[in-house]
């Protein structure tokens, strides 16, 4: 336990000091930390899922508080919680199915739900509720919904007697934790593999002789473009340099190293050049549930220009960037102001400022992110395929359970 605590503290510290940059790196670190939290968490025999959830939540809250702007942390914590809930559910349903077959009492489930805090409710109720929140409403589940709820009173009345612990209990406990860690490992793989999955689709979206504008430095975009290049598509990339961080320079360097025709333009020339651009491709920092995008600063300008010229504005986002929250005033609330020294040299203006009453005040604004409203986005490409902005809420609902939205 103590070493987990220190790991958490260290990670929180890193987040606070913005040592980790990029949502993918942050997401990966977060998952790995959560995995060790889970594996070190001593699970009581009774309500193991709840214990795990509580532990993860406690850590997650700390992490989110450390850097509320880095939405990937919250997303990943919610994903892990979701995994725990799902594994728990699948175990219970499996157990229930077994019990139904044996026609025995389902004491485990009762323990479980008591632990979770719904003592009056039976496992089936929880299961049904969980299922309805977790599973997309396919026709089958919709049809099955009614009989299930009809059976609830019956099962609840039938199975509220026994309290004895069975032998397979411990194995079940171990199984849950094992399953959860398995799921988390899958999540890690998914996060680290999202580039490839997104890049695979590049060939469907980039044609010969295309001119693509991008800004910011996103590894996803880099892989996406390179994947198209490897498939022998020849196209040209305009890279906006992205002052004051000049991430565009970094991206341009890597693109050139991979042999792409690259032209670096100033940020101010985005509007001038957009009329000759076939597609704008950017990597998102986060995607909100309404389909809005939080991206590197300057993205909104490019999106507006693209809209004006009817140029498709494509956003690449791995699933860890999908945030289940709806933004309110995201330009301000989900933004971060960086150091003014990136814009003005520290000493440069000191001579005009210390006149006292006679001189005007000087503020320097240097935001990190920009918000693009969903109506400016043409397409999202995630590792599960392309999606409309209006569909994002539904896609996001697949990854998170409703209970975790507010942590």
């Amino acid at each position: 336990m103590p070493d987990v605590q220190s790991m958490v503290a260290e990670f929180v510290n890193k987040l606070r000091k913005r040592k980790i940059e990029g949502s993918q790196a942050t997401a990966k670190c977060t998952v790995e930390l959560l995995r060790s939290v889970i594996s070190h968490q001593r699970v009581p025999h009774a309500n193991q899922a709840a214990a795990l959830i509580d532990a993860v939540k406690a850590v997650g809250q700390q992490l989110v508080a450390a850097n509320p702007v880095e939405l990937a942390v919250g997303n990943v914590v919610r994903r892990v919680l979701h995994i725990i809930r799902e594994e728990d559910l699948s175990l219970t349903t499996a157990a229930m199915a077994g019990l139904d077959l044996l026609d025995a009492s389902d004491d485990d489930d009762i323990d479980n739900c008591k632990g979770i805090g719904y003592p009056a409710m039976s496992a089936a109720v929880v299961a049904a509720a969980a299922r309805s929140t977790l599973r997309p409403p396919s026709l089958q589940t919709l049809l099955e919904g009614t009989p299930e709820s009809a059976t609830v009173p019956y099962t609840s009345s039938s199975g509220a007697d026994s309290e004895s612990k069975t032998a397979d209990k411990s194995s079940l406990t171990r199984k849950l934790k094992h399953d959860v860690i398995e799921g988390v490992n899958q999540l890690i793989q998914e996060i680290s593999g999202c580039h490839e999955q997104i890049a695979e689709q590049a060939i469907e979206h980039i044609h010969q002789n295309e001119v693509i504008l991008t800004l910011g430095s996103s590894r996803t975009v880099l892989e996406f473009l390179c994947a198209a290049k490897e498939k022998k598509r020849s196209f040209r990339v305009f890279v906006a340099e992205g002052a004051p961080r000049y991430q565009g320079h970094l991206l341009a360097k890597e693109l050139v190293a991979r042999g792409l025709q690259t032209t670096v333009i100033t940020d101010s020339a985005v509007f001038a050049m957009i009329s000759r651009v076939n597609m704008v491709i950017i990597g998102a920092h986060a995607v909100m549930a309404n389909g809005g995008v939080i991206g590197p600063v300057g993205v909104n300008m490019a999106a507006l220009a693209a809209k004006k010229h009817a140029v498709p504005f494509v956003v690449l986002a791995g699933s860890h960037k999908l945030c289940p929250l709806y933004p309110h005033n995201p330009e301000v609330l989900l933004n971060e102001l960086r150091s003014p020294s990136e814009l003005l040299d520290f000493g440069e203006f000191s001579d005009c400022l210390d006149f006292g009453a006679g001189s005007g005040s000087l503020q320097v604004v240097n935001p990190t992110f920009d918000y693009v409203p969903p109506n400016l986005v043409s397409l999202f490409i995630t590792d599960t395929g392309g999606h409309n902005p209006s569909y994002m809420y539904r896609l996001i609902a697949d990854y998170y359970s409703a209970d975790d939205l507010v942590m």
């Binding site: 050139v256 509007f271 005009c352």
Partner: protein, 649 residues
């Protein structure tokens, strides 16, 4: 809004103001739009308005913008104004027109009626004067075609001129330059010395020329002589016409972005992907430009040269450059090094250099002052173009200067002509640039209220004057200065504003959508306003205007009317200027940004440093100009109605 006002302009001829006028002006002032203002510019503006006002009743002005008052009895109001104009300058417009009418007994009316309905106003003196540019142009074109008599020929333009003839014309130009130089000049001794040194250099130059595979000197001379002969048929008509020939010929050489309009359509600029023309231009070039290795494919039609290489070369050449006046040379170097930038500053510097030129000028024997000086100015202009492509405002100013030279009455003695020219140029600077800015400030300040948050981009001089004036008026406002790489001109503006005690916020252009929430008005400068309402300005202006209009913030563009141009442009690609590409790869003051250090010569990597962009008119709420505040849809009206009188000042 325009559709509402359109019928009014027709039905109610008493509306006298151009566009949106400041509400602070009393209603009574509407009858005499500018006269109540006391400063000289507005006085001159009002003095120059009558030609237009006399035109408007003729029915060709169903324009959305209200034209200044139709004066039904223009004959009795005019003399007063004519006198006023005459008093302010050595040569009054009316005297021009008279002399010209004497020169063109018939041509003055026959050349123009096809284009202007103002031809019907021959009776009064001013309309003739205002139609003169047209005559000048037309006769120029006629002379150029060289096989047809001058009168009534209006269709030939440079664009349709056969290439051989163009070559001849330029050859003749070169030749005449040389001839002129070989003649002993009555100039200052220092200059003569310089000339003497350069005389020797010229031989070397000629040899180099022959080496370059061009026409050998002998043949070029013959070409020149034939072309002179070809131009001869135009000669018998009038002296004036001959001047026009010279003007037309030099126009041809004058370069891409500076052209008189022979017809209503502006001429195509030089396209740098046209190899034969580039080679030709290079042969003439004074500045040795090495072409950039890594050119951006999309911009092959624009000159892309290595930057920073020409300056030492040129400086070394200082004593060799034969025909160059030192003042022009200095300005050229300043353009090249970027010491002078900004539309107004560049234009004023150029005009002042031309003033020097005029001052030091003496007509070579057996030469005509008008013709020779136009040729000289043209060669200077092409030198300046080599240093840096002209801005549209400079093109307009050159057009003005040439027009004045062409219109100098031959009756004037040399010193009189020089004095007249100098005062004309002085007046252009004072009225059209400095005075216009003052009028703009006066208009724009009325739009600033207490508590406003004003956003500006880059470092537009007009906007700076507005802000400082508003601050002097004790208006309480805040300024957001938005800046962009690589020039970071906003920092200079920021410094000046802070020193004057204005509260400022500074940010870069990427953060524009973050900052736009709090903005109440956007003030922008412009390099030029084109007649489709497009604002051609510092790159990034379009972005700012776009974001502002997306946030429903009014965008006010401040631009002097002399920068208006009849050219139209839809995008920022077809015509632009490319800056130093290395300025992009190196981030000034940020040593940590060095990702692209070793890659500048990589064939896959280009740097595009655009200088200007075109802002579509739908992002612009209002254009503040010295003629008032107008919507962008009214720009063509201003261009049409006022550009002509521009030439007359």
């Amino acid at each position: 809004m325009e559709s509402r006002r359109n019928p009014r302009a027709v039905v109610d001829p008493k509306v006298r103001q151009v566009g949106f006028f400041t509400s602070s002006q009393p209603e009574s002032s509407s009858t005499q739009p500018h006269q109540q203002q006391t400063d000289p510019i507005s006085a001159s503006a009002s003095a120059s308005s009558p030609p237009v006002s006399t035109i408007s009743p003729s029915g060709n002005s169903l324009s959305p913008v209200m034209i200044p008052p139709p004066r039904l009895n223009s004959s009795d109001t005019f003399p007063l104004r004519g006198a006023a104009a005459g008093a302010s300058s050595a040569v009054s417009p009316s005297s021009f027109s008279y002399s010209n009418r004497r020169d063109f007994p018939d041509g003055s009316t026959t050349a123009s009626p096809g284009r202007h309905s103002r031809g019907s106003f021959v009776k009064s003196s001013t309309p003739v004067a205002s139609s003169l540019p047209g005559i000048g142009m037309d006769s120029m074109a006629a002379a150029k075609s060289s096989s047809v008599p001058a009168s009534g020929l209006t269709t030939v333009s440079v664009a349709t001129m056969p290439p051989g003839l163009a070559e001849k014309a330029s050859g003749m130009e070169v030749q005449s330059d040389q001839k002129k130089n070989s003649k002993p000049l009555k100039e200052k001794t220092t200059k003569a010395e310089r000339r003497a040194i350069q005389e020797a250099q010229r031989a070397a130059k000629a040899a180099a020329k022959a080496d370059g595979g061009k026409v050998p000197p002998g043949t070029s001379a013959s070409v020149a002589s034939t072309s002179v002969k070809a131009a001869k048929p135009a000669k018998p008509s009038t002296q004036k016409n001959e001047v026009a020939v010279a003007a037309g010929v030099t126009e041809k050489k004058g370069g891409p972005s500076e052209k008189d309009r022979k017809k209503d359509a502006p001429h195509p600029r030089m396209q740098y992907d046209d190899e034969s023309r580039v080679v030709k231009a290079k042969r003439r070039a004074v500045v040795k430009q090495t072409e950039a290795k890594n050119r951006v494919e999309l911009f092959r039609h624009l000159p892309q040269y290595e930057h920073g290489t020409q300056l030492p070369d040129l400086e070394a050449k200082f004593f060799q450059l034969d025909p160059m006046h030192p003042a022009v040379y200095k300005v050229g170097l300043q353009y090249l090094s970027g010491d002078i930038s900004g539309g107004n500053a560049r234009c004023i510097a150029m005009l002042q250099a031309f003033q020097e030129v005029v001052k030091d000028y003496s007509t070579p024997p057996e030469k005509n002052l008008n013709r020779d000086m136009t040729a000289k100015i043209s060669s200077y202009v092409s030198f300046l173009i080599e240093c840096r492509p002209l801005s549209i405002s400079m093109g307009n100013a050159i057009r003005f200067v040439k027009n004045r030279i062409a219109k100098l009455p031959i009756t004037l003695s040399e010193s009189e002509a020089k004095a007249a020219l100098q005062s004309d140029i002085e007046r252009f600077i004072n009225d059209k640039i400095i005075g216009a800015d003052m009028v703009i400030v006066k208009h724009a300040v009325t739009k600033i209220r207490d508590g406003d948050v004003l956003l500006t981009y880059g470092s537009p001089t007009a906007v700076e004057m507005i802000l400082l004036h508003a601050h002097e008026l004790k208006k309480k406002f805040r300024v957001l200065v938005v800046d962009s790489r690589p020039k970071l001109e906003g920092q200079l503006l920021l410094r000046r504003l802070i020193k004057r005690g204005i509260s400022c916020t500074y940010t870069h252009i990427n953060a524009i959508s973050y900052i736009m929430h709090e903005v109440t008005k956007v003030f922008l400068g412009a390099s030029s306003v084109l007649s489709n309402g497009t604002v051609y300005s510092r790159v990034g202006t379009a972005c700012v205007a776009m974001v502002a209009s997306a946030f429903r913030v009014p965008v006010l563009v401040c631009c002097e009317a002399y920068k208006f141009h009849e050219r139209v442009q839809l995008d920022s690609i077809c015509s632009n200027e490319l800056g130093d590409p290395n300025a992009i790869s190196k981030v000034h003051g940020r040593e940590d940004i060095n990702y692209l250090d070793g890659l500048t010569n990589n064939a896959n990597l280009q740097f595009l440093n655009l200088m200007y962009d075109a802002t579509p008119s739908d992002y612009i709420s209002m254009i503040i100009t010295d003629y008032g505040m107008v919507p962008p849809t009214s720009v063509p009206v201003i261009v049409r109605e006022y550009q002509k009188e521009h030439l007359l000042v």
